[in-house]
């Protein structure tokens, strides 16, 4: 058995040896397996087979932070962000108070149960809400989510979304989580982490799944689409066409979860209109030639970084005033 494990360790098992290794292993107790690995490696963990780079460690930490619902503290928090989070907090508290007063006034559970709760953020804002089942939803850029308490029961959980949101759905195999979005698109979830972005005007939706499993339904589809972890689907809700791509690199996964703008050879005018949607400022980008293209990541929640990145990559000065950001390429 030890020699088989050594071969496994060196990626040198033959098909027959793998079959023997598998049979033996399945018969072994956990303690024996533990001993087998330890004997092969000697308790040391300092002679690694595979080294992990600092970059991947940092990226991994950021995904852990996102899953923990912890926002990294910036060294310098731009004032507008503070204002925005204050505004979002007031909005949520106000919604809470409104809801409380309303339900107290009528004094009837029924009313509260069927009342629709709406949480929304304006352009350039970001806010995290915790739903009755413990699911956390981080809304960004002109988005809203609505649900009523009666939709959260032991059989199913239902919300509707317009815009973009990062979902960390609490696992409950008995009560699947459904999200309805623009154009009758529906996503069924068991328990998972993913970013969903919908655009009713463009009839285009995107979903990036980090872990778990989701199923996508639409009247435009003949069958449901199952998505596997680390896959990104771009779905056209008007004609039902879609593409699935694998996101192999951890930096991109992280950017997808944050809702960054990810462009590969996209016309600069398109990038400008996506930025305007997110930040509620006009992005006036005048390209040198009519079809200038942009490739790269732009953060979805840090205007200063966006300006720096654009300025550096095109080696130009960016002019910023209260409502317009102008760049001459």
């Amino acid at each position: 058995m030890e020699s088989l494990f050594k071969k496994f360790k060196a990626d040198r098992l033959s098909p027959e040896e793998l079959a023997r290794f598998r049979d033996e292993l399945n018969r072994m107790s956990d303690d024996d397996i533990q001993e087998l690995i330890n004997r092969a490696y000697g308790n040391a963990t300092d002679t690694p087979d595979d080294t992990i780079t600092e970059e991947r460690l940092t990226a991994m930490k950021r995904i852990i932070d996102i899953r923990n619902g912890h926002k990294p503290t910036h060294v310098r928090i731009p004032r507008y962000l503070l204002r925005i989070s204050a505004a979002a907090a007031i909005l949520i508290v106000a919604a809470g108070i409104y809801f409380y007063i309303q339900s107290a006034r009528f004094g009837e559970y029924r009313q509260a149960l069927v009342r629709e709760n709406v949480i929304s953020v304006q352009r350039g804002e970001r806010a995290t809400a915790i739903l009755p089942d413990g699911t956390t939803v981080t809304l960004s850029g002109n988005s809203s989510i609505s649900y009523s308490l009666s939709c959260f029961n032991s059989h199913s959980r239902r919300v509707s979304l317009s815009g973009n949101a990062l979902f960390n759905v609490t696992r409950d195999d008995n009560a699947p989580f459904f999200i309805s979005a623009a154009d009758d698109l529906e996503v069924k979830v068991l328990g998972t982490l993913f970013f969903l972005s919908t655009h009713s005007i463009r009839h285009s939706s995107q979903l990036y799944l980090e872990r778990g499993a989701v199923q996508i339904y639409s009247p435009k589809l003949k069958h449901n689409i199952d998505l596997a972890p680390h896959q990104l689907i771009t779905f056209n809700t008007s004609d039902g066409s879609y593409t699935i791509t694998d996101v192999a690199n951890i930096t991109e996964s992280e950017a997808r979860l944050r809702g960054d703008i990810i462009a590969s050879s996209e016309p600069i005018s398109e990038v400008a209109s996506r930025l305007s949607m997110l930040y509620d400022r006009r992005f006036d980008i005048r390209p040198r030639v009519a079809d200038d293209y942009f490739t790269g990541y732009l953060p979805g929640d840090n205007l200063e970084d966006v300006i720096n990145i654009l300025g550096h990559s095109y080696k130009v000065t960016v002019h910023e005033n209260s409502d317009t950001i102008s760049i001459d390429l």
């Binding site: 990626d11 033959s14 098909p15 533990q34 690995i37 490696y41 087979d49 923990n68 069958h223």
Partner: protein
């Protein structure tokens, strides 16, 4: 550790920097796949934060983390040895050695399979994904997709055949890339 119990994220950050790398190497011993190892390390730390208030004071943090990681490592080893994708890898590796080609690591193999998967048709990819990665039986796939079991078998064999053709191409592309450098 008491700081962690009181909800200090700073303490959590410090623990991550102290242990993440060692845990990764520890777990990797059982899986041979960097993606799996990364996911396990993520799970260990997410759970550490989630259950921070109920941590046992009498144990050291390192023994706590490695006890959890030990279980993950054993399960990961069982999972990989029983997975059809790993079996495909071993067969592929065996053929490579037979033809005097240079062997590849499991990680490279997984990357190649994922790239090759994108050349399949939608239906083929779904069936291959369910059968190889999620380990569902033909019958289960047929029920989920609401198609005939025969169709599943046909899609799967066509998909796997196509995958094999794609995979066999790679040693050559690798050489071409090396020549260009």
């Amino acid at each position: 550790m008491s700081e962690l119990r009181n909800g200090s994220y700073k303490a959590f950050d410090a623990i991550y920097h102290l242990y993440a790398k060692r845990l990764y190497h520890y777990v990797y011993q059982g899986t041979r796949s960097s993606r799996d190892a990364e996911e396990i390390v993520q799970d260990v730390f997410v759970n550490l934060w989630k259950y921070r208030t109920s941590l046992d004071d009498s144990k050291s943090l390192s023994s706590l983390l490695f006890t959890v990681a030990k279980r993950y490592r054993i399960n990961a080893l069982k999972a990989i040895v029983n997975s059809p994708v790993y079996e495909d890898y071993v067969t592929h590796q065996h053929e490579l050695l037979h033809h005097d080609s240079s062997p590849i690591e499991y990680n490279q193999f997984i990357d190649q399979v994922r790239r090759a998967m994108s050349t399949l048709s939608d239906a083929q990819r779904r069936v291959v994904q369910m059968s190889r990665f999620e380990q569902l039986s033909h019958n289960e796939i047929a029920t989920i997709l609401n198609i005939n079991v025969r169709t599943v078998a046909n899609l799967l064999s066509a998909g796997l055949k196509r995958l094999k053709i794609e995979l066999d191409k790679y040693p050559e592309t690798l050489i071409i890339i090396l020549l260009m450098v």
